[in-house]
Subunit: 332 residues, 2 copies
């Protein structure tokens, strides 16, 4: 039996997307052994269940009623201990083994800190967010994509190991390649952190080390895993997303310029859509926080139903393929 | 009398671009008071001068003959002291006041270290590269775009001051706005470095502080100056450039897909070119290394004649508007 908790609060568009994702998942997968625990407003969740859940699976969705959500202006520890919010109720149930995984669209900072309360695997010092990023060539796991901003070179080595287990187990990539994000290709390039990390990565036989990856080559998708601290990871991820978004906006404005360009837009529309679809993250689900004792997945605040649906699948896969167990055995 | 040195070695395409830029600059500007010192192969330079320099200005280009260039595999101090390479000859002449400015397409790492030997303005601890980046709204000066990877929060405050003097003096922007590049908008966001820097920037009345700028908003061009350490600066600059390049490549591949898309390409070609021209850095010249006692400008290894021509103009402007003097008076 697999039990996955879903925080219905925290998304930009309210609770509907996670509720509908849960209902569709149960309806479509017809899996008696899967139970989804929805943390949120009982009335709203019940109404949607009434409307669309296949009655056969009525027990496969459980509701944990709350109308409270965490206050980011308050102390995080006290917010975690205040077991009335959707996120703290879910994280507490995770800690108490009532559920096996927890999915939330809430604040990354809160998820990161709550995850530390839930507990790290023995030997793991920092738990990174792993965002799977669609690039020109392949999907690259970016670790840490934003959890830990001040870290040690040894943590980058741990990220490489965590990412290797994750990509191998979840995506069946044998011997995944790992690059160190850096400001130059040569071994001696970088800041204090990356120079030391290079040596650790190079000398760790468990890691298929590619070497340094220059920032400008990140969009090319040359490796399976890229490691860096959470500040730089957030920088590259957000700059990549932000630049793509602004350029697409620019392209749209060009298409609207005059009759000629509007005709061009019509002629190219389908091909453009087809290609851009490859760069959508909807199919990936969310970013797991790796190295935690339990499965925690962070989805974008603006995730639509499809992305949340895929996050449920991702959590189920994570549990069934026992990524946590495999990480533990790497560290023992 | 203004004397500007130009390293003709160090460019990806050989010495021709800097030589032609120098000759065009002299021919077109007809300025008796401007002298350009070309460091490089006398024979090649003489031949080009013979071919295209207006004979009236024959004395305005001087040649410092060398066929040697720095070896990046050797110790930088000894390379600096080995006064036989184009870069060390130029930097030495700068140090000895024989020239007022030096332009090079050579290695950033070498230029940065050589600049420290030439000397920093009293009170300046780290000299950042200032790359002017064309964004969706305005040109933004990114400081440090790659010189110093391990710095103190106080250095970010200095970068803000250096950038303010530069943008105000060279581009006539009154009260230029300065943002701190960070992983969140709120004051308490960031790593140790940016959290401390935020307070320094906020409390410095000489700085028109905008607050934190999130990575994803960098392409929008919301401020005149963005400060960050050289590792993160290099990350955002290269990711921005790399992503733009890959997306344009992708767009081109879509245009080539079939007859329909090829017609679309023809219909939109001019508008696309017109808009993309706004994002060219050719008109900017190069990236100055700010806070140095002397004017040093780094151009891209792949800079064409036009960019190098504009770098000469930029160096001339830097000297005539006495940016160095204005920085000194900010610090005294």
């Amino acid at each position: 039996m697999i039990k996955i908790g879903i925080d219905t609060f925290g998304g930009d568009a309210g609770a509907l997307n996670p509720i509908l994702a849960a209902i569709s998942y149960i309806n479509e997968n017809k899996d008696d052994n899967l139970y989804l625990y929805l943390y949120g407003d009982e009335k709203q969740i019940s109404e949607e269940i009434e409307k669309s859940l296949d009655k056969k699976y009525i027990n496969n969705i459980q509701i944990i009623n709350t109308n409270d959500f965490i206050d980011l202006n308050k102390d995080v520890l006290s917010e975690f201990k205040r077991h009335t919010t959707s996120m703290s109720l879910g994280m507490k149930d995770l800690q108490d083994d009532k559920i096996d995984a927890f999915i939330s669209q809430g604040s990354s900072a809160a998820i990161r800190i709550f995850a530390n309360f839930v507990g790290r695997i023995k030997g793991i010092k920092e738990c990174p967010f792993g965002a799977l990023v669609p690039t020109m060539n392949k999907n690259t796991l970016l670790l840490d994509s934003g959890a830990n901003v001040d870290i040690r070179p040894e943590d980058l080595q741990q990220f490489a190991l965590l990412g290797s287990v994750y990509m191998k187990t979840l995506y069946n990539i044998q011997n995944p390649s790992v690059a160190l994000l850096n400001n130059g290709l040569e071994e001696e390039k970088g800041n204090k952190q990356t120079k030391q990390a290079y040596q650790l990565l190079k000398n760790d036989k468990r890691i298929n080390f590619y070497g340094n990856l220059e920032f400008r080559d990140f969009p090319k998708g040359l490796v399976d895993i890229v490691v860096c601290d959470g500040f730089v990871g957030n920088c590259i991820l957000k700059t990549y997303e932000g630049t793509s978004k602004e350029l697409i906006k620019l392209l749209k404005s060009i298409f609207l310029k005059n009759i000629k360009t509007m005709i061009a837009a019509l002629l190219i529309k389908n091909e453009l859509k087809e290609i851009l679809k490859n760069y959508s993250t909807e199919n990936f689900g969310g970013a797991p926080i790796l190295g935690c004792k339990k499965v925690i997945i962070k989805c974008h605040g603006n995730s639509k139903e499809k992305e949340l649906y895929n996050a449920i699948n991702q959590a189920k896969d994570y549990i069934e393929k026992d990524i946590t167990g495999k990480i533990i055995s790497t560290y023992n």
